[in-house]
Amino acid sequence: MTALRAWLSDPNPASRRQARLGQAWLAWQRIRRNRLAMAGLVIVGLLLLVAAFAPLIAPHDPLTQDLSRRLLPPGTPGNLLGTDDFGRDILSRIIFGARITLYIIALVAVTAPVLGLLIGTVAGYFGGWVDATLMRLTDIFLAFPRLILALALVAVLGPGIENAVLAIALTAWPPYARVARAETLTVRSSDYIAAIRLQGASSPRIIAGHVVPMCLPSVIIRVTLDMAGVILIAAGLGFLGLGVLPPTPEWGLMISSGRKFLFEQWWVATMPGLAIFIVSLGFNLLGDGLRDVLDPRSASR
């Protein structure tokens, strides 16, 4: 263990791999000291575990109805967080809902940043009218309020989880394009890019192999911070009935179905909202911490 640590923190790395791992080790050391970021990491880790092992953790089936046990308050033996209007166990539904939430954010996280990276790096690398056109397009999409554009898109595409993801991804890419373009502009004129170009590398190759990796840290921070917003928008769409369809245990949808008896059986609407809040707080804390650690410009503040 100590040998490994010494190897990682060696000021004179012998290989490229050692240098990279050493960098990661140092970043990890810095994150570990940030208590709020660690709290965020724990929450996100818990979300992953809960989603992965949902069938093992959940005390009941999330879809089985039992009308003789409907609207039981939290703390009832067997139903820790109570039951909803169909007698379904709320805790089990929240646990299975973690899968839906994770599915949505994972799909958005692999689509929107890729699109944004592509547009941003191409715009920044080529400059000129390509840059002007692509950035104008980005500004137009940025000018649209996200939730409303997503609403209009889902209205056209029809409700459903894939359509919700598509609508969210189509509204989420512009900030990534902005970030990627800014990073590209700073590396575009550096010597190493000129050297590769002189060796005859093609533009796609330079962008994919040498510009995109430079943009990745800032994009990853943005993704983490953005996931909180994605969770909220997805829950909002679900709440309005535009996300997944009813029996599915989606958190936003669960809040909306509990709304009818808010004043009598408060827990039905409150519990899933608490889940949304905690998970989105986790991503915010983690993203905040990552930014402090990985982004030297904000670390000085």
Partner: protein
């Protein structure tokens, strides 16, 4: 630029005017793009607008006639030009549900949203700016931590859920505020039949009419949703204020002022604030624009008859002209607020003119 005489006031103003002109040009392109997107969305709608007008049993001849009347037989680019021409003239089409002009309907709903978002922004600014300043002057203190965590919570809470909890606690349990809606039914009748409407914003109208009982009732209705939106914008404003203020407090002119023996409140609120205020204008304008959007979910919870309710109701009635009309209006408000704050920024801050 060395060796040139100091520019006269006129020469200094000229670049600003040029930038404003450039800004307006950009604004026009952005608005055009906005219309293009809503136009494309409207074209890929699976429901045929013709069928929804004539019904399932129309003869092909009737359908063709309606198509022609709506201009759907023209090439797409021509349809788009007509759409833009109409939109510029303030015509956003007719609602499928009511058959009325979307523009007229939105004009009726918009003041309620404007009232809510404005009050929310005022709350957010009044609390957020001092909180951010407090956090910036004592970094790492308990106060700083509290401001940070309260802010992060505001970022992380689903606004519709917070609204439900607010209703549950302050209306259902404590009975401190009035429930959903803008007014109690009695006052609503009064507002509609005996008082003159000047702006559509109840607080303003009631005050102008001197109807203070209506005013009090409206306050009791608006306090919860506006406070809620205020919290959301407070989270953003306090965070940005903190970061701007910390940046400013590290500057040398602040040290100079302190060495001179200037009282700390004056250093912060007069000297540093002058520089913080400039980027803060942009932040407040952005959060205002954001609240216009955030009102969509809030209005659903509080049965608030504003633009958000209008859009969601239209959504469920598959009334696409109304949905897209509402989208365009919010988009235009968004873009205009952004542009206005940008121009203001350049006018106030000489450094931004370069």
């Amino acid at each position: 630029m060395t060796g040139l005489p100091a520019p006269s006031p006129q020469r200094r103003l000229l670049p600003v005017l040029g930038q404003i002109a450039l800004g307006l040009g950009t604004l026009a392109i952005t608005l055009l793009g906005l219309l293009l997107i809503t136009f494309v969305i409207a074209r890929i709608v699976p429901t045929d607008p013709v069928l929804s007008i004539v019904g399932e049993r129309a003869t092909p001849a009737q359908i063709a006639a309606i198509r022609e009347k709506l201009g759907l037989d023209l090439p797409l680019w021509q349809q788009f030009l007509i759409y833009v021409r109409d939109a510029v003239q303030g015509d956003l089409g007719r609602s499928i549900r009511t058959g009325q002009s979307v523009t007229a309907e939105i004009a009726r709903y918009f003041p309620a949203t404007l009232e809510l978002a404005t009050l929310g922004t005022i709350f957010g600014t009044l609390v957020g700016v001092p909180a951010g300043v407090l956090a910036a002057t004592r970094p790492g203190s308990i106060a700083d931590q509290i401001v940070r965590v309260v802010g992060l919570m505001g970022y992380s809470m689903p606004v519709f859920w917070l609204g439900l909890i607010g209703l549950l606690v302050f209306y259902g349990q404590l009975d401190w505020v009035a429930g959903p809606g803008r007014l109690d039914p009695v006052y609503d009748m009064m507002m509609q039949f005996t008082l003159t409407s000047y702006t559509g914003m109840i607080l303003v109208d009631a005050a102008l009419n001197g109807a203070w009982d209506v005013f009090a009732n409206a306050v009791s209705h608006i306090v919860l949703p506006a406070g809620l939106l205020g919290y959301v914008s407070m989270a953003y404003i306090s965070r940005m204020t903190r970061s701007f203020m910390m940046n400013e407090l590290g500057q040398e002119y602040i040290t100079t002022a302190r060495i001179k023996g200037m009282p700390e409140w004056r250093v912060i609120w007069v000297h540093a604030m002058k520089n913080v205020a400039v980027p803060l204008i942009t932040v407040i304008a952005l959060s205002y624009a954001y609240l216009l959007e955030g009102s969509v979910l809030t209005e659903t919870i509080f049965a608030w008859p504003g633009l958000g309710s209008y859009i969601t109701d239209a959504l469920f009635a598959a009334d696409m002209p109304a949905v897209l009309g509402g989208t365009v209006v919010v988009g235009v408000a968004f873009v205009t607020l952004n542009m206005a704050s940008d121009i203001l920024y350049r006018l106030v801050d000489p450094r931004a003119r370069a």
